[in-house]
């Protein structure tokens, strides 16, 4: 990395502002060396650039409206099939995933042993699930996320 002269230092401050840590990676080291060597001159240039930075920071970030948040959530992907309400109820009740799977299998076995047909078994399972399709709006699911436990 070569030396940085005043012209280059000034140009960088003018373009990127008064914080060297926000300057281009490739030039930061030389810039810090310039500060070490030129002290007051460098600090004056940085302070001048920083005064504009401060003015720009007076612009407060906009706050997203509740309507925007809701519209975005309403359009979000829905939970895929394969994790039914029954599954979430079982795991949410404190059962481990393995035990929940065993219980779900028990439901299946029971349905098979008592039901007359595979269709009836599927119907029983679907009734306990989310129709194997979309869930309701994301916010209605609450804060418990059993999906991530799997």
């Amino acid at each position: 990395m070569g030396m940085m002269d005043r012209t280059r230092f000034e140009a960088l401050a003018e373009a990127f502002g008064g914080r060297i840590d926000l300057w281009p990676d490739a030039e930061r080291e030389a810039a810090w060396r310039f500060v070490a060597e030129q002290g007051e001159t460098a600090r004056a240039l940085l302070a001048d650039a920083a005064s504009l930075d401060e003015q720009l920071q007076e612009l407060r970030p906009p706050q997203p409206s509740a309507a925007l948040r809701q519209a975005i959530l309403d359009a979000a992907p829905r939970l895929r099939a394969g994790r039914s309400r029954l599954w979430r109820w079982l795991t949410g009740a404190g059962l481990g995933a393995g035990l929940a799977a065993a219980c779900a299998a028990g439901v299946l076995a029971g349905a098979v042993s008592t039901g007359p047909s595979a269709d009836a078994t599927a119907d029983a399972l679907m009734a306990a699930s989310d129709d194997g399709a979309a869930l309701g709006p994301v916010e209605s699911l609450g804060s418990v996320d059993t999906e991530s436990n799997s």
């Binding site: 003015q55 007076e58 906009p62 975005i72 359009a75």
Partner: protein, 183 residues
């Protein structure tokens, strides 16, 4: 284009693609204020900025299930789509103004534009809005979004030297516009 240094959003995006509600909430919390800010600064219009941000998230939700980890950074992709959406709006705005010339010289969306705004924030907003689009984009990406010069230049499809030139001109114009407010 391979992502560099890993993508901090990658795991979250994959979970969003599976429809994980917690991931959806987390990704929205992480990105919404930042992307709304970008749209607001680019468009200087609160309603249009919310429209663009909503459209941006619709696209993100659609993209998430087929997101390819390791190919590109999600934040870069999001910025690219957001900037493109903003330019679509700006183009449409110009076309409307050309097709239906305003009766008054200033029909900017901000209600107090052109007036002597009292608060600094409004003055800065007006000064930003008065910049040429590309200069404003450079300031928004580098100053407000804090993208690196390399990322911002790539997003704008310009060289890092051209980006630096845009930033310099923009900051000179902003400095002149806000000179009376400096101590």
């Amino acid at each position: 284009m391979k992502s560099q240094g890993g993508d901090p959003d990658e795991e979250l995006v994959v979970r969003v693609g599976r429809g994980d509600p917690a991931a959806i909430q987390a990704l929205m919390a992480r990105k919404l204020p930042r992307m709304l800010q970008l749209a607001r600064r680019m468009l200087d219009d609160a309603i249009e900025a919310e429209d663009v941000t909503q459209e941006l998230f619709l696209r993100a939700w659609k993209q998430a299930p087929s997101w390819q980890p390791g190919v590109a950074r999600f934040d870069t992709w999001l910025h690219r789509v957001a900037v493109n959406l903003c330019y679509d709006r700006l183009r449409r705005r110009r076309e409307t103004l050309m097709a239906e010339p305003p009766e008054q010289a200033d029909l900017g969306p901000a209600p107090d534009r052109g007036l002597q705004a009292r608060d600094t924030g409004r003055r800065v907003e007006a000064a930003l809005a008065a910049l040429p689009d590309r200069q404003r984009e450079a300031v928004v990406l580098c100053h407000y979004q804090e993208l690196s010069n390399i990322d911002a230049a790539a997003l704008m499809s310009v060289s890092v030297e051209a980006l630096e030139s845009l930033l310099s001109r923009a900051r000179r114009a902003l400095r002149a516009a806000l000179a009376d407010m400096r101590e």
